[in-house]
Symmetry: C2
């Protein structure tokens, strides 16, 4: 087998494990994983592969369980993120293992790593916890829960800080592993959030956006393609509206304008676009947002929405990328 030289990072959305309308049994989660992982197994013939993933429903379930159990010491959020890295890391790794064996290309080393990610304690996000996580409470229940709470469309929910990722602690290790042709699963759930305290790291109650963490990872390991796989075919204007229009590509300048015009929902498509833009802007790499069904097609440039460098308008009317 020819050695791959280009590195592809695939960021799997929460729907890679739990589809809309499902309860999220373990059988469902394993079954759902086959669709994206089979494509990634095939792509490993051509690319060095890094997989990252979300953990929203899983961390929500752990929170719900610990709120309902009063005989066990409650764990801080960063530990629950670590637990979901164990769970989902195992599920992705074992599914990929099986798919690689099916393809007869199981000679490539494969690891799933615990990863923690440094955030800045002066990040403005710390002044304003905005990200709702875990169970929904009534107003009365919410008053007795010892966390910052906020009224959402569903009811009262715990809100946590979602600071920007500054650096992946294991970047050096991940880079070495990729150089040695390992397939690496890492930075699950956006990574375990930590701040620097002198010579140590201190875990904090926060959640890092998994796509922003993926873009940071792509930058720090020098990836070539950063692909975000989600539950829609790509980026759309007027999403869900009458004149909804999917885009095959969007320049950085256009993307910025669409964000300002409010085309992309916060906590949904907006952070994905921002993550994709960040990688294109900072590293000049390829960023694609696509559906779980179309991962391979999108890598081939035949599906999804590609975020591209601005097209420079030249004076004589020609355009040049």
């Amino acid at each position: 087998m020819k050695r791959a030289t280009k590195t592809l990072i695939v960021a799997l959305g929460g729907n890679a494990l739990i589809r809309k309308g499902q309860k999220g049994t373990i059988e469902e989660q394993f079954e759902n994983l086959k669709l994206p992982i089979r494509q990634i197994a095939r792509l490993s013939r051509k690319y060095k592969i890094i997989i990252t993933h979300g953990n929203g429903p899983q961390v929500g379930n752990l929170l719900l369980q610990q709120e309902n159990c009063h005989t066990v010491p409650k764990l801080p959020l960063e530990i629950l993120v670590a637990q979901t890295q164990g769970q989902i890391g195992y599920m992705i790794e074992s599914t990929l293992d099986s798919e690689l064996m099916e393809l007869g290309i199981n000679t490539q080393p494969l690891v799933s790593l615990i990863s923690y990610v440094v955030v800045d304690e002066n990040d403005p996000a710390f002044k304003n916890p905005l990200k709702p996580i875990g169970p929904v409470y009534s107003e009365k229940e919410a008053a007795s829960v010892p966390y910052p709470m906020r009224k959402t469309a569903k009811g009262y929910r715990r809100v946590v800080v979602s600071p920007k990722p500054v650096s992946i602690v294991e970047k050096r290790e991940i880079k070495k592993l990729i150089e040695m042709n390992f397939i690496v699963i890492c930075c699950g759930g956006g990574g375990i959030p930590v701040i620097r305290e002198g010579r140590a790291f201190q875990g904090i109650d926060a959640v890092i956006d998994k796509d922003l963490a993926g873009a940071k990872l792509a930058e720090e390991v020098g990836a070539d393609i950063f692909l975000i796989a989600t539950d829609v075919q790509g980026v759309a204007l007027n999403y869900g509206g009458k004149n909804q229009k999917f885009l095959r590509s969007v320049t950085l300048e256009q993307a910025e304008r669409y964000i300002k015009e409010g085309h992309f929902a916060p906590g949904s498509m907006k952070p994905k676009i921002e993550a994709a833009m960040q990688f294109v802007l900072d590293c000049g790499g390829r960023s694609v947002i696509t559906s779980l069904e179309d991962i391979e097609q999108a890598v081939a440039g035949k599906a999804g929405t590609e975020v591209i460098q601005d097209v420079l308008e030249l004076p004589d009317g020609e355009s040049k990328t």
Copy 2:
């Protein structure tokens, strides 16, 4: 720094995280880890290091939480083991990170891996689930719990199978990492138990003894020293009795005899001795059982109980190892 050539595997007992009499808050667990991890950090100057660890109380807490929460799909035991690998892997890695930084030797790559371990579906253990895990139930509660239950000294408890580890799935990866001087944390909680099903692995409801998994790992990666760190200073005859006697060394033959004589409690010292014996017998390496306080001293041959090859009695009365 001179490159280490010998590989040391340290298997940390449950008390490395939660001491007797503690509730097991996260602060306690991080604090407790410093004692063994500081010693391991110093040992990394001389040895290639692999760390493995138990997960009894942590997996028990997860079980308790999911039994108390009826709105979230219950996860099989192997997934809970995976979650504890995430949790404890993160805690060990970040503590070791800090201790290495304190020592100014933070140039060594360090990873914590999800690991699964193949067991044999024909292992006789499957006919007789013996290992009690998780919460204690009354007789009435026990009747409604959908798992095999058994009456123990504490009350009714769920019992699971504890089959022998056959092979560490990630052994190839761990070996490569060790060759490249990575410090590796792996096989937590004895590893996630799986059986082979054609070209895939299937997780199963079982728990693998972490010391037996450690011995298998030591064999498969070709380690030189296998050290089991626990809450007593070493192996004792008549443990807890009037004429308790700690041993500084024990030959394979002696150990076998003492086991037959019932000196070692099943589920406690017995599997540790058996794991240590297995490594000495199969690989001719050094096996030491010691306390968390004495890890460095035991590696230096100055503490703990060393399991050694049988001393051959020669006809002329001399002895030869």
